[in-house]
């Protein structure tokens, strides 16, 4: 069975004012797999991620050329709404960013915006997503507590649950474990491995070891270009490009 292509990026270039952040990117994201994106700082990894849920639109200086198709439809087409897109493509940011509300309200923020008011359904969403994020047992007795009181690792898992509560199709994670302790990192990685059965996951990480642990496929970005992409095992053992080899062996980074 041919694996389905969830997102198809065709010759994507992104500019911020006069600065070009992405150059002619072309790649396909396979559904229900984890794609890891590695590369040194300022290689355009975060920019690429933010293009997929049109978060770059928030910056009035940004401009995108090329096409980004999800399930065959161009997400930048004028008829497409960015807001509707973000219901299907969720994002977890690098720094845990809980909203200044209770744990419960954080998770139900998105669903309530979509019009879900039934308390029973919301309760169900909260339990299910917090469980998927491996956080339920730790917070189930204090859902009304201010989310800011949680530890960093817990906050990040909360952010994951919050994103899952939107019932997206794609989950984007931007260096989600930077600054987290190894145990929290492990928990999040475990969650991702389970979640890929249901979602398409794209994970940006500057920790190559994490990519080799978790990702099915890996893409290597360098200075706004896609240098190489393939199965993780191949990228890390027999990369085709010399630059990839230099990076994964730690010659630069």
């Amino acid at each position: 069975m041919e694996p389905a292509v969830k997102i198809s990026v065709q010759n994507l270039s992104v500019f911020f004012g006069r600065h070009q952040a992405l150059r002619g990117l072309t790649l396909n994201v396979t559904a229900n797999r984890i794609l890891g994106i590695i590369g040194p700082a300022s290689s355009g990894k975060t920019t690429f991620l933010r293009t997929l849920n049109r978060m770059n639109d928030l910056d009035p200086e940004s401009r995108a050329e090329g096409r980004v198709l999800m399930d065959g439809a161009d997400i930048y087409h004028p008829s497409q709404s960015a807001v509707q897109l973000r219901k299907r493509v969720g994002m977890v940011f690098a720094l845990p960013m809980p909203l200044p509300m209770s744990i419960y309200d954080n998770v139900t923020y998105g669903p309530r915006l979509s019009g879900i008011r039934d308390r029973a359904i919301l309760d169900g969403i909260v339990e299910q997503t917090l469980t998927s994020a491996f956080l339920w047992d730790e917070v189930k007795d204090r859902l009304n507590m201010l989310a800011l009181r949680l530890s960093g690792g817990q906050q990040q898992r909360l952010c994951l649950a919050r994103t899952l509560a939107m019932d997206p199709e794609v989950v984007l994670l931007d260096e989600p474990c930077s600054g987290l302790d190894p145990i929290s990192t492990a928990r999040i990685e475990d969650a991702l491995s389970v979640l890929k059965a249901r979602y398409t996951i794209i994970l940006v990480t500057n920790n190559t070891k994490q990519a080799s642990r978790v990702a099915d496929e890996t893409a290597f970005f360098l200075m706004g270009e896609l240098v190489e992409m393939g199965e993780t095992s191949q990228i890390f053992t027999v990369p085709r490009d010399q630059r990839t080899s230099d990076y994964v062996t730690g010659r630069f980074g």
Partner: protein, 279 residues
Amino acid sequence: MRIPPKITQAMAVILLGAATLFTVIVLVLIIAFVLKRGVPEISWEFLSTKPKEMGKAGGILPTVIGTVLLPLLAILIALPMGVGTAVYLSEYTRENRITKIIRFGTDCLAGIPSIIFGLFGYIFFVTMLGMGWSMLSGGLTLAIMILPTIIRTSEEAIRAVPQAYREVSCSLAATNWETVYKVVLPNALPGIMTGVMLGIGRSIGETAAVIFTAGSSLMMPNSLNDSVRTMSVHFYLLAREGISNEKAYATAAVLVFAVLFVNLTAYWMMNRFIAKRSR
């Protein structure tokens, strides 16, 4: 012969300190003087009965009502307009020609003397729109007067909300408007409230603009169309017409307490705002 720097420093400190002390003493003395003469005259009866003989005897109840209602009306009008302006300037646009015009208008409005507001209120609300000397005229005029303050403090409060919250809200598929009323405004509320208290404080002390728009009737107001006298106006008329010095001092003392209360509340809110942000 050069004076050694340590000596010039000592001289400077003494001079500056003396100037500061003088300033503080003068300002405190003024308040103390008013309170000393006025507080003995204040009683519950004073606050709750109507004046007799144009204020020579009796209490100041109608003016208390006026001093409460007029700023309230002004805030009811100025708050939505001010917060709306602040929201537009920070959430819906970036700096361009239009925002420069809006800011220019706001800054200019802030500097206009109150007598001009009185003139304008008189010619526009009282005369041209036919509202007469009324709470409505007074409230509308005061609203325009405090608008710049509300805009300024609201914008500051809104800009202080961390950008991260907006990004998160956006990524959870909220529209700009939903982000504003679900995340930004609730978090900016303490700062906005500070502006509200400042506006109320200004309205309480305002005399020139109020006399020419709300009039100076000593009767209890029954509707928005009735003229009403505020404590500031009452105080001014008592003093100027020489009606009663004791009652004037008493009214002044009540006014001082009112301003004190409003400012302390504003200060307390501001502190809560700062504390909440740094948590």
